[in-house]
């Protein structure tokens, strides 16, 4: 395989996952939390694709595509929730939205 070994890709994925986890835990805006979640999902995707290349097996790439579809669904629902929060004039702050009461 030309270029870096699979391990280097995994290191990039690990750092990316750490950045995303930091964003999810530290930021309070639900929009930024969703974006950070996307970063974490993509780090997982990079790991799947890297191992698919390592093993010479396509299953990892199939899983990465499935993760992409689930991420699209998650964004649709998450953005729907954020718009619903904005409609009810709630503060856009995940710390404030702690009750499930409609």
């Amino acid at each position: 395989m030309d270029g870096p070994d699979v391990g280097w890709y995994l290191i990039v994925a690990a750092i990316l996952f750490g950045i995303g986890a930091l964003g999810v835990m530290m930021r309070r805006s639900p929009l930024i939390v969703l974006l950070s979640l996307e970063i974490m999902l993509n780090a997982a995707n990079l790991t799947f694709v890297a191992f698919a290349r390592q093993q010479g097996n396509l299953d990892g790439q199939i899983f990465a595509l499935a993760v992409m579809a689930v991420a699209a669904a998650e964004v649709a629902i998450g953005l729907g929730l954020i718009v619903a929060m904005a409609r009810r004039r709630m503060l856009l702050d995940v710390d404030q939205a702690s009750a499930l009461r409609g």
């Binding site: 995303g20 993509n42 990079l46 010479g56």
Partner: protein, 177 residues
């Protein structure tokens, strides 16, 4: 020679990937955050190409950087100034705990990688030129992974209905409130 070129491309893509990742997490304006995420997804697509995953890279750019991020930018535009996200991350104790937890996660992953480094991670298998091409992905989806393929469509349908339900205003709400 080709080897060096691949290393250079890998390094640029990886650096862009991590840099835009930090930008997504640290921007106060969600619009810039979303734009940085597009850059992040594009550089990840380059890494996917280097891993001979052509179809995944194309889907990443089309579906993710295209469709999903447009949806995101629409919501940011809809919210306008209300979407601005000041950095204040709650009490200092919680902020410290968040950094410690993220650092712990990262350390765990890196330690596991370091332990596995010499054995399996440096000897990739040989793959044919058509590995990861749309034809091979399609064949795998419609033979071995047909159930996952069909369930994915149901997940997307449920999410679409859920998005519509969450987005519509109901008359009843006025009475309750």
């Amino acid at each position: 020679m080709g080897n060096v070129l691949v290393w250079i491309i890998w390094f640029i893509a990886a650096a862009a990937c991590l840099g835009t990742g930090v930008a997504v997490v640290s921007m106060t304006n969600p619009f810039y955050s979303a734009l940085s995420l597009i850059g992040n997804l594009a550089s990840l697509a380059v890494l996917f190409l280097l891993l001979s995953a052509e179809f995944v890279a194309a889907a990443q750019v089309l579906v993710y950087a295209g469709a999903v991020m447009v949806m995101f930018l629409f919501v940011v535009a809809y919210l306008g100034g209300r979407a601005d996200a000041p950095w204040a991350g709650g009490p200092p104790l919680l902020r410290t705990a968040a950094v410690v937890a993220a650092a712990a996660l990262l350390t765990e992953i890196v330690v596991v990688l370091g332990l596995a480094w010499g054995d399996d991670l440096t000897d990739p298998s040989q793959v044919s030129a058509s590995f990861g091409s749309p034809a091979e992905i399609g064949e795998a989806f419609l033979t071995d992974h047909l159930l996952a393929f069909e369930i994915t469509s149901i997940v997307l349908l449920v999410a679409a209905i859920g998005g519509v339900v969450l987005g519509t205003t109901r008359e009843k709400e006025e009475e309750i409130a």
